[in-house]
Symmetry: C2
Subunit: 381 residues, 2 copies
């Protein structure tokens, strides 16, 4: 069965220490229901990483969403797109008519302002192998292995911050220069502060259902979920290449078109190196040439393959459980032609990719890739 | 499609502070795969409450279970049965052939030995409304409202501890008297220590798949998941009655038989009052008469409706994410006639019920009820 996205919603993203997670969830869900034109759903998949026991049911109960099946899912940074993937499968199987996928994270309640060091009570903190450190190691390996100028990585931040100025949904809406990126505080060499996605609170949601004869709905053409190692030191691939490439192949098999044929890409730029490697894993550039693609403008709005027209995580912020559904929201707005100043003209297909890593943990990771389609635009081709 | 349980496995349950969660998971999965006679699965639903970000993928990667879709689910104490419910739906939809449902909790790493007070950093700790307190309030209301002798609640512990002596899988395998139960340390009036399930580490797993012509497989006749309030002060119902009753009705509708027709029941006796209310919500006793049913022996092995032949959570222990799948394992053993000294003769149908509550949190809860069937025994009727 075709499964459609009826509507999407996002809360503000940013540091909102005094706005509880339940309020962020309420905003995202109310928007998504209104956008979908429905007033109730039959089941919910709720993506959140740091939510306490039972927090999904509690947040939804306050909105009157109760009695129905609610499943909290957690797949690290891919929690939001995992909720989306499972919601799609549930509609596809005919288990439910209308399913809500929602994701939220209140990062400021967990991380001190500006602190990069994680909570010392978890494995990440105990090992000292925080995610910025893991990404920094892969960036170091990448630039050495391919002979890339680290300044090329900084161009990812420059591009995405420029895109972010075109969005009402971004935490950061100001441009930065490559010099500013490189001269910002060093977090984990070679990654400077402006090459790391910020601490952010936010929620995002999507309402899914079967075809209902509404031409505005966006079709989920394919969706895949995989697990795998963050990297394997026995081969030359840096962070996340293999798992993203394999998941993208699954999506291409289901969609019947190459992933590279999509008109825009919302990918997981938690750190600049992440976007570069992902563009290669998706096939937008040969291995080792993703950085050059950025420098040449190929992934900018107006370029051949716009990547992160929303501004990405580097602009929008990265409330873990919300991120995947915020990417879905951007894809939907683009495919409906509602993306305003950052609209990719005539967008017919959009690809979303999220990759979530276990900490202290090169050894367990989740990746979701999905392709969404505006069927009328697709048929005009 | 019929969905079958091919095999189940459980680790030891008990205080195992020096056995890591990954080792418990490995034991449960290896047993379940061997019991199922399969050497690989196509997807995993992984139930755990306190697992860190990405911990599901990490634990499984070490067992060589990777690349496939892995979804961590968390629905409080119902996390294990939520994994089971979602795994069943995935097989039913034809998404995968063989699906592993696994659950684990390493309670001793989170809770100090013997400490009932929860972590002060979570909502439960901040409010002081720990689960024993919430259950104690419902027990107080129950005994007052129905004029029940609190000693009748203690009989649940006496029965389940007696059942536990017949199991190799229980954390506690010794009998207790009603006097010992009532005279044990007061935790939250009227609930004494021996009326509370213990801190326990453990894992449990089940392998599900479509029919394969193996007469030993157990069929999942029905399964339902609901959310709802823990209790509603505006009506007379105590803890969890309404949500359990509604979920049991869903199961009866799907199964085409009354839940009360089952030959045995594995239910969520995290506290003695929980079992009493659940037997009423399942329809085994009229409201207010569940305590009498225990006193009269109706829910003991040999009685009309054996409840918790395994010894329940009060004997087996309660590693949150593992509990639901340990209940499933007991149901499967009973239906295969492999339950040894605690076997319910000729068991054809078994009901499993798990109820998981949000903390600080009368307002968000999850419940799973499932009915499993030995089809040959069922046909002989």
């Amino acid at each position: 069965m075709s499964v459609l996205v009826y509507g999407v919603g996002v809360s503000d993203f940013g540091r909102q220490p005094f706005t509880p997670a339940t309020a962020l969830v309420a905003t995202a869900i109310e928007q998504a229901l209104a956008d979908a034109g429905v007033d109730a759903v039959d089941a919910v998949y709720f993506g959140t990483v740091y939510g306490e026991m039972g927090s999904a049911q509690r947040a939804l109960h306050r909105l009157g969403i109760t009695e129905i099946p609610i499943v909290r899912v957690e797949n690290a940074c891919a929690s939001g797109t995992t909720a989306f993937h499972e919601a799609r499968a549930a509609v596809d199987a005919g288990r439910y008519e209308r399913v809500l996928a929602v994701g939220v994270e209140h990062m400021t309640s967990r991380f001190d302002r500006g602190a990069i060091a994680p909570d010392a009570t978890d494995a990440e903190g105990a090992s000292g192998m925080a995610l910025p450190a893991l990404y920094a190691m892969s960036a170091t390996r990448y630039v050495e292995h391919y002979g890339v100028d680290p300044a090329a990585l900084a161009q990812v931040a420059v591009k995405n911050r420029r895109h972010g100025t075109l969005s009402d949904h971004a935490q950061f809406r100001s441009e930065v220069t490559v010099e500013e990126v490189l001269e910002s505080r060093m977090i984990a060499e070679p990654l400077t502060l402006l090459q790391c996605s910020p601490i952010s609170d936010g929620a995002a949601a999507a309402v899914l259902g079967p075809p209902r004869g509404n031409g505005r709905d966006v079709r989920i053409r394919a969706s895949a979920l995989r697990s795998g190692a963050l990297w394997d030191h026995r081969n030359g691939r840096v962070w996340g290449y293999d798992i993203v490439a394999a998941t993208a192949r699954d999506v291409a098999d289901e969609a019947g078109v190459d992933v590279t044929d999509a008109d825009l890409f919302e990918v997981h730029d938690a750190f600049t190196i992440g976007e570069v490697v992902t563009t290669e894993a998706l096939g937008l550039a040969p291995e080792g040439e993703g950085a050059r693609l950025v420098v040449d403008g190929g992934t900018a709005l107006g370029g051949r393959s716009p990547v992160n027209p929303s501004g990405g995580l580097l602009s929008r912020g990265h409330p873990l459980g919300a991120t995947g559904l915020a990417q879905i929201a951007e894809a939907v707005w683009q495919l409906r032609g509602e993306a305003g100043a950052r609209q990719v003209d005539g967008a017919a297909n959009a690809v979303v990719e999220t990759m979530g890593g276990g900490v202290s943990g090169i050894d367990g990771n989740a990746c979701v890739v999905a392709m969404l389609t505006n069927e009328r635009a697709e048929r005009r081709r």
